[in-house]
Amino acid sequence: MPGEVATLPEGGDFILDESASASSAGYFEYAGHKFRSVNAEEYETLNKITANTALRKQFGPRRLSVLDQNSSAQDEKTKQKENPSINQQPVQESPEQQPTPEKTEPDLVPEPNTEPKDPENKHKEDKPPAIEKSVDPDKLRFIRDLGPGNRWKGFGTPRQGFYVDPDAPRNADGSMKRYSIEEYNKLKEQKKARVGELAGTKENKGYESFDKRDYVGVKVKTLRDVAKGPDAEYFGEMFNAIDKQSADILARAYQGDKLTEEEEKKLQYALHEYSKFAEKYEKIEKEIKFTHLELAGRRNPAIQRAIELNGPAETLKFWKQDLKHLAMTDRETFTFLYDAVKHTNKGMDTRRYKKFNENVLQVCKRAGISPEEYDAVFQLKRGDKKQSEKWLKLHLSKDLTGFAKIAGSLGVTHFKARSIMREAQRLQNVVDRKFNLVGSAVRDIHKEMGIVGRVMALSIGDPMKVAALRKAAMRNEAVQLARDGGPKNMSEMKSSYTNIEANVPNDAALKEMFERDKPKEWATWDQSRRERWRDHEWDPSELKQPDKEAVPKGLWAQILYSFTKWLIGSRKKKLSVA
């Protein structure tokens, strides 16, 4: 789509305007919405609203300085001036070294005479300090920067603050190392890329980019270590997932035959990956408990029945066994699970939860809403499902719409949250942007607080409430599917499901293919070698069995794939290797 941007432009002030055209100043499209720069007239109106300097500083629009500079939002120089100061600070600056609040807020309405930039500082802005690769963004804690006296300083910008790593070595003066939001996002991206490499995704060239330095801290096993016992089976799976010809390479390696340079590289890569993922599995194996079964069962009645079929103890046992296979054969999914278990175990941030919980109780009281009302409404017992869903449809839409409205009016909502709430916004048709906060009475503010509190109340506690909220918020198909990393619409999804389906031939046809494809060395092979070829290496194109990588994400697709694999494997096993 022309004008569509993948990431939001830095600097300038933009408003959502569905009637905007590509010729509008600062026009761009993001997440299906049209945006443009605030024009001079609108800027003037906003100025009138906040004519009082104090009010303006406190409540006035931020990020409007692009207009003060009388240049377009796309102007690179202006962009640099508009960059939040927190991103201009040296990475390891201590809190005491921070500039005064006024100077740290360049995106507040600017002072008329902005001093020219120090060339050295400019250099820093152009090239932010390098971020240590070893920093784990998931360990960082966000500190909200409310300025002196813990007072809020205005609205209209994304949240302000910085991240610190409480466990990392301190600065020389004893202060904690700081990371700006921008740096935090970079760290997240870097980690995502590393996880991708680890998981053997497309970015990873596999053994071709193998580098032993990436395995620091991993106790790498030798071929002798994995030659016997259960390791042999799992290592075989890992190697096979890396290279379909692994069985042959491995057999020769075990015999002590000389391997080619490339084969040796593949073998070493497989050993390193095996060691790394075996260690990860050992960690996760200890952390997965009955509580995870309960969690999954509560989320989905079909899973609950599946657990009851074999009993929790047996289910937990075979799930853990399957996870080890998963760690060897599908490192990407395993890595997702690994991160998810860590995340689940960490639980909700205590500080945030406590603060939030207090707020919820407070707003419920003010808005005349009983907190118990939610417990009563969200007792989603099986028998009451229909009634509960009806209630949810009515009230969640209302609450989400109200929340989107107020958040949109305040301009504080992140675009991600906006996209989540798009469905709610659609229900309301348009966000009421005429909502005049400045002129509103305390009573109105309490009412809006009630709306915010009610939505937030739904997002804690009982997983059924959470699931209900998620369903309401994520009803937008495009958002849901994009999150799953799968196809972008229902027809694409159907077609991808069709692609997973195997064309399972009958016994006679399969035998014909088998005889046709037998390798020249067949006669020299023993039975186990022949079976290995039949079960793992033989992959005739007629079977159309998709590669694991080609299977779309999501539970249903994965299950379809398992069925397909079983059906083909079952037919193959009937073929005699005699």
Binding site: L309, W319, H446, G453, R470, L567
Partner: protein, 87 residues
Amino acid sequence: MDEFDQVQSIYQTYSDLVKEGKEDQAGEYLSGHLKELPQELQKKIVSQMLTQSIIDDAAESEILNEIQEAGLEAYEKLEEIEKTRQE
């Protein structure tokens, strides 16, 4: 009906439901017929259900955290405005 045909029959019904977009029904159907599947396949499917469920739960809590963050911010700003009105 031998084991292969049994599995193929369940697979076919399940697959049709999924392709029609009736995923909830597909899940219900599958859980109702799990015990008719061979142990090996049954365990594989249950494990997949559990794994995906935990991954989904973490992803959802991330989304909800975003909602909470945005909500808290809105709330704080409202509080501040409220104070100004009362002064």
